[in-house]
């Protein structure tokens, strides 16, 4: 993404969908970097999930929202982040070029629940289909 747009308006809190328009989260935070002094900031990663949202909200409420997600993440795994190179379009949704199931470490709870609870119910179908 080389266009110069306001990350706050164009990205933050937007719905993220995969290649097949399957929704799986929102842009809960945006990681920026400033390559050199005075240069325009670059989007390094889109963070999604309750942990990123909790950190952004701050305060007691933010801690409550973020804590379960932080605890559920395996030790050593990085917080869920999406490479901005995967972003296909940002309006009206942030649409990715990849499929949800190809994204590693994103919305782990969704995968876990699908595998361990919902897929076991009769007629629930399969998440990866």
């Amino acid at each position: 993404m080389s266009e110069h747009v306001s990350a706050r308006i164009a990205l933050l809190d937007k719905q993220i969908v995969d290649r097949d328009r399957l929704a799986f989260g929102r842009v809960d935070d945006v990681e920026l970097s400033i390559p050199t002094e005075g240069a325009l900031p670059r989007v390094e990663a889109l963070h999604t999930g309750a942990e990123a949202l909790g950190d952004r909200l701050g305060g007691v409420l933010g801690r409550w929202i973020g804590a379960p997600a932080r605890r559920l993440r395996s030790d050593g795994d990085a917080p869920p982040a999406i490479d901005p190179e995967l972003v296909d379009q940002v309006d009206p949704f942030v649409k990715l070029r990849a499929r949800f199931h190809e994204l590693e470490g994103v919305a782990g709870f969704e995968h876990w629940l699908a595998r361990n609870l919902v897929e076991r119910l009769p007629g629930a179908g399969h998440a990866a289909e």
Partner: protein, 412 residues
């Protein structure tokens, strides 16, 4: 209009009726009728106008953007405001799930003489099966058609051969009867508004429009649903008030049980009437259980951006499916504590009234965003009715909780 379009429009209309009359309405209308006659019927007219305006607005946003109005709230107004709205509406709608579940169980108790608490697990299972097995439109259709049996209340008004002059003068007297105080009168104004202008109807209507894949070309259909559905709901509400007035007011009976909302129909129309009324109460509360439950899970899923709804196989919306299941089980468990469902209902609708302006405002703002809405942005009529509704609901919001405490839920 070709025949299939007529059919589709009927479905939506039916769902609007089913959505309007729920446990909150049944209880509030019967209590109000028994204690105040039709002196609060004007509140129902106001509520119908308000909810029509906001359901239409939310429906229009959904047609244009293919997203429910509240799903847009977070990206428009930030995560804090949206979280406040989410928690508030979850508290209210969550309480209502318990109340509606109990309502279904109470209807079954009326039919079977088996205590309602024994029916709660059965109802929970039935709700889970219906949600799991039926597609969205079939669900709307079934409880919508069954909900039409509520029209028996309108028939009952005629059958009771009222003094129409007396009914009219009651409806046009905008103050409490001699035996009641102003705070109690005002508390019931708040209760009726809370029971009839329920935000979950608006959320459900707009999420339903997305689930039914409505597009801008369906504008007329959507509006017909609003224009026919909600006033019919309002008519039923006033009929419930009227029969309760005609049967309970003179002897001074206070409505404290759901069975008493069906009793006047039994008196007017005999056993058959009672059976039809019980079917109607069952359908209305069952439909409302589905609506409140789905509206709560939609709210959560939309806030966090999860996939949701009945268009996907459940495994592709695992978090949504799990949240729905957990909410259903938790509401069933709460109902099983034998907490009085009427009390839960009254508290929930009073709190709902307190939240109204905060949930209506974002919808009004989004519907006015010309960049987003284009030619479907609000016109002067929507804005005028919307602003008046929000202004009055601000008053209601300020007064709701103090009145709830002051009048001890209308029992003082």
């Amino acid at each position: 209009m070709n025949p299939s379009r007529v059919f589709v429009f009927t479905l939506g209309t039916l769902s609007a009726i089913g959505g309007f009359i729920d446990i909150g309405d049944l209880v509030a209308d019967a209590q109000v009728g028994a204690r105040f006659g039709l002196r609060l019927a004007w509140v129902t007219l106001f509520s119908v106008a308000g909810i029509m305006c906001f359901a239409e607005m939310a429906g229009r946003v959904a047609l244009k953007t293919q997203r429910p109005a509240l799903a847009l709230a977070r990206s428009r107004f930030g995560p804090r405001y949206a979280l406040f709205g989410l928690i508030g509406s979850l508290l209210v709608t969550g309480l209502l799930i318990t109340a509606e579940l109990s309502g279904v169980a109470l209807a079954l108790e009326l039919a079977s003489s088996v205590h309602y608490l024994a029916w709660i697990p059965v109802v929970v299972l039935l709700v889970a099966l219906v949600l799991w097995l039926l597609p969205f439109e079939a669900m709307e259709r079934i409880y919508g058609v069954l909900g039409l049996t509520m029209l028996v209340y309108v028939v009952a008004v005629w059958k009771l051969a009222p003094d129409w002059q007396g009914l009219w003068s009651s409806a046009t007297t905008l103050k409490p009867v001699a035996s009641e105080s102003w705070p109690v009168y005002l508390f019931f104004v708040v209760t009726l508004i809370g029971a009839q202008m329920t935000p979950y109807e608006m959320f459900f209507f707009s999420s339903g429009a997305v689930e039914s894949r409505w597009r801008p070309k369906d504008l007329v259909e959507m509006r017909i649903n609003v224009i026919v559905g909600f006033p019919l709901g309002g008519l039923l509400a006033i009929a419930i008030q009227a029969v309760a007035f005609l049967v309970f007011f003179e002897p001074g009976v206070r409505v404290e049980h759901l069975s008493e909302t069906a009793l006047p129909v039994g008196i007017a129309l005999g056993k058959i009437g009672l059976v039809i009324a019980i079917v109607g109460i069952f359908a209305a509360t069952f439909g409302a259980t589905l609506e409140t439950l789905l509206a709560s899970s939609y709210d959560i899923a939309q806030y966090f951006g999860w996939s949701y709804g009945k268009l996907q196989v459940p495994a592709r919306a695992a978090r949504f499916t799990t949240v729905t299941l957990v909410l259903l089980l938790a509401s069933g468990a709460f109902a099983l504590t034998s907490i009085n469902p009427i009390t839960v209902t009254i508290v929930a609708v009073a709190c709902s009234a307190a939240l109204l302006p905060f949930l209506f405002l974002p919808v009004l703002l989004v519907a006015n965003d010309r960049e987003l809405m284009g030619e479907l942005a609000n016109g002067w009529l929507s804005n005028a009715v919307g602003m008046i509704t929000i202004a009055l609901s601000l008053l209601v919001s300020v007064a709701a909780i103090p009145l709830l405490i002051l009048t001890r839920g209308g029992t003082a």
